[in-house]
Subunit: 227 residues, 2 copies
DNA sequence: GAGTGGTCTAGACCACTAT
DNA sequence: TAGTGGTCTAGACCACTCC
């Protein structure tokens, strides 16, 4: 019973055991297919998967070699707060603190490539787990995308409305640390200056910006990724 | 000329255009193969890729459906500090601040599953970009893995030695925010309490722990991921 | 039990690139 | 130009899971 996952595992074992050390060219697909007694396509499937994971580098003609720097890629499942909290067996709720049309700071319009004199929809929300503040959300929303009677974001979270309604095609995401201040410090009940973890995210629909989101987490929060 | 990437693109377009809205079951592989005029395996390749990216959910018998929550996966290329800094055209250097065998705090041994009365190698390093502090590294290293004449970590960074020497099979990674204090505050020249971004990482070789690393970034640093 | 995706094969041709 | 990986095909059988 030899499947492509068995072959992937065996090749990975040889890489880790240093049978095939970093930088070394490994046997070609045809040779491995003969060794394992399978079709070349099966070997190809296994090696392609290992290359996508960053263990191998493949090039036509020159062959497949072991990557110099092993596994340097991690994946993050971007949490949907409601799911994350409910998965912990806690009750999710949110409160809309503020929402209005106003002129965004220059940093925001620059980042999104919008005209600086155009008002945007500002939303400030706190997400609660069992009634305790879990994260503070500050969001700038491109008003050009909103339907005429604006959705009631105090009943449906802006994130869920966006996900259900708009097709987004690209985005980026960054982590940073920031000192608590103003309303954020107040929400979490910490003194100004406390260190908080911020996730910043922009999303786009084609070349049209949708939203810029800053999610500030409760003190001590860790964002965990698997390697 | 229709290849699997064309099919992936077309299916993704239909998902984004809401031709196939979230939750809906899409046509089976056979049907799509006929529509596009290709073999079923080609359609399978395209749909498998979209499922790995989180756009589709596939199950035998019940078929393929559009994911309710689109793209919720981001990948981080774990930076090798020297490469990251040199890629910005800046000069990399590091200074070993401290290294000695000592008893780790209980939190460390618990996390790594080691005996609490066993000393570990402690390494404290600052990484410099153009002479300015870029990150502070605090590392606990399992001494059972070290060769008898301990490598000279003031000449070769511990990270690079580990990567070259040991085969690591698993690990995890977390981001958190922390207030600067003690040596870290001193290194960055900030007042105690300043918010700093910390990346914490543990690595394993089979079931043997290798190292626990805390990388504290310079004030204002952002870790960027692509979605 | 039946329908769907998951995988394998043997062979073929193509695309890229080192020499 | 030649060698390697990348992809496609037509057909087959298997594995899972819903009914």
């Amino acid at each position: 019973m030899t499947g492509w996952e068995d072959i992937r595992a065996e090749v990975l074992r040889r890489i880790r055991a240093r049978d095939w050390p970093p930088g070394q060219v490994i046997p070609g697909e045809e040779a491995l297919a003969q060794e394992f007694g399978v079709a070349r396509a099966t070997v190809n499937r296994a090696l392609t998967a290992l290359a996508e994971a960053g263990f191998l580098e493949r090039r036509r003609k020159s062959g497949t070699r072991v990557a110099e720097t092993p596994v340097r890629r991690a994946t993050l499942d971007i949490p949907i707060l409601r799911h994350e909290i409910e998965a912990q067996g806690r009750a999710y709720a949110f409160r809309l603190l503020d929402h209005r049309l106003m002129l965004p700071p220059l940093a925001v319009t620059t980042r999104l490539g919008l005209a600086p004199d155009q008002p945007m929809l500002w939303l400030e929300t706190v997400h609660l787990a069992d009634g305790h503040p879990h994260a503070h959300e500050a969001r700038w929303l491109n008003p050009a995308l909103l339907p005429d009677p604006c959705p009631d974001f105090s009943a449906l979270s802006a994130n869920e409305w966006l996900v259900r309604t708009l097709a987004f095609t690209a985005g980026d995401l960054a982590f940073l640390a920031e000192a608590a201040e103003g309303r954020v410090a107040e929400v979490f009940g910490v003194t100004a200056g406390a260190a908080l973890l911020v996730m910043e995210r922009t999303t786009w629909s084609g070349d049209q910006p949708i939203t810029l989101l800053r999610l500030t987490h409760a003190p001590g929060h860790r964002v965990q990724m698997m390697v």
